[in-house]
């Protein structure tokens, strides 16, 4: 994309209500950005799943906290990499404290989500936010 190459950082932000029907629109927007940024289809699919996981976690954290504060998704396309952040105002999750498996030995949804995030992008970080909620940071190298 010629025009995008001119500036070294392109920032797109999306704010959605913290509810599940809106995760699909984020997926669509992010896939389109990733495709336009010239990433190949496999990488686009990986990003789509990772962002969806981060948004699902945000929405589910939010159900517990039951706030109405939006979930914010930002997309930053700099020269060598794409950085995506998903920030919510839901429950502050201590990932080390949640159970890995249920009483029957099956992985919990949260653990599977974590495995997908870790495996599908080049780096993934979770951080509690000042004022409550979590930020998930995804890094994708080109």
């Amino acid at each position: 994309m010629q025009q995008r190459a001119r500036s070294s950082v392109a920032l797109v932000r999306l704010e959605i209500p913290p509810r599940s029907p809106y995760v699909g629109v984020v997926r669509l927007a992010i896939s389109s950005l990733a495709r336009s940024a010239g990433l190949d289809e496999e990488k686009v699919d990986d990003i789509k799943i990772a962002v969806s996981e981060a948004c699902a976690n945000a929405v589910l954290n939010n159900e517990e906290a039951s706030t109405d504060a939006p979930v914010t998704i930002s997309w930053e396309d700099s020269d060598g990499s794409v950085r995506i952040e998903v920030a919510d105002r839901g429950a502050t999750v201590d990932s080390s404290a949640s159970a890995d498996v249920d009483t029957q030995g099956f992985s919990t949804r949260a653990v599977m989500s974590f495995a997908l995030l870790k495996s599908l992008v080049d780096d993934c970080e979770f951080q509690p936010r000042d004022g409550g909620g979590m930020t998930t940071r995804l890094l994708i190298n080109r």
């Binding site: 599940s20 029907p21 995760v23 699909g24 997926r27 496999e42 699919d45 789509k48 799943i49 969806s52 996981e53 948004c55 699902a56 929405v59 589910l60 029957q104 099956f106 992985s107 919990t108 949804r109 949260a110 599977m112 989500s113 495995a115 997908l116 495996s119 599908l120």
Partner: protein, 111 residues
């Protein structure tokens, strides 16, 4: 975003054809359908994922939940999937060891 759920009973199996995207919004619909089947006495369930173009951890969670339900009745839950991008999700999460995954519905029902 709609999730297509089509159920067919073939012999002893209930086959659920899923179409569309299984995510945090649509997964509860799949969950309800699978609970309904078990409560009706269908304990051998096949979930056909060939028409699914997106699956995330909430969808996986629903499938694991359904597996636990059918196991409680000595039943089985198997999947039909040949799509690389969906199989990848099962591999990453280790669920290829938990679910029998077949290439066709016939293979899954043993027809």
């Amino acid at each position: 975003m709609e999730l297509g759920l089509d159920v067919q009973k073939t012999g002893s199996h209930a086959v659920v054809d899923v179409k569309g995207e299984i995510d945090v919004y649509t997964a509860p619909k799949l969950r309800e359908k699978l609970i309904e089947l078990v409560s009706e006495g269908s304990y051998d369930v096949v979930v056909n994922l060939e028409g699914v173009d997106f699956l995330d951890s909430t969808g996986l969670g629903v499938l694991v939940g359904a597996l636990k339900r059918v196991k409680a009745h000595d039943g089985s839950l198997s999947l039909v999937c040949t799509q690389d991008k969906i199989l990848k999700i099962f591999k990453i999460t280790g669920l290829t060891k938990v679910f029998p995954i077949h290439e066709t519905v016939d293979a899954a029902t043993g027809a």
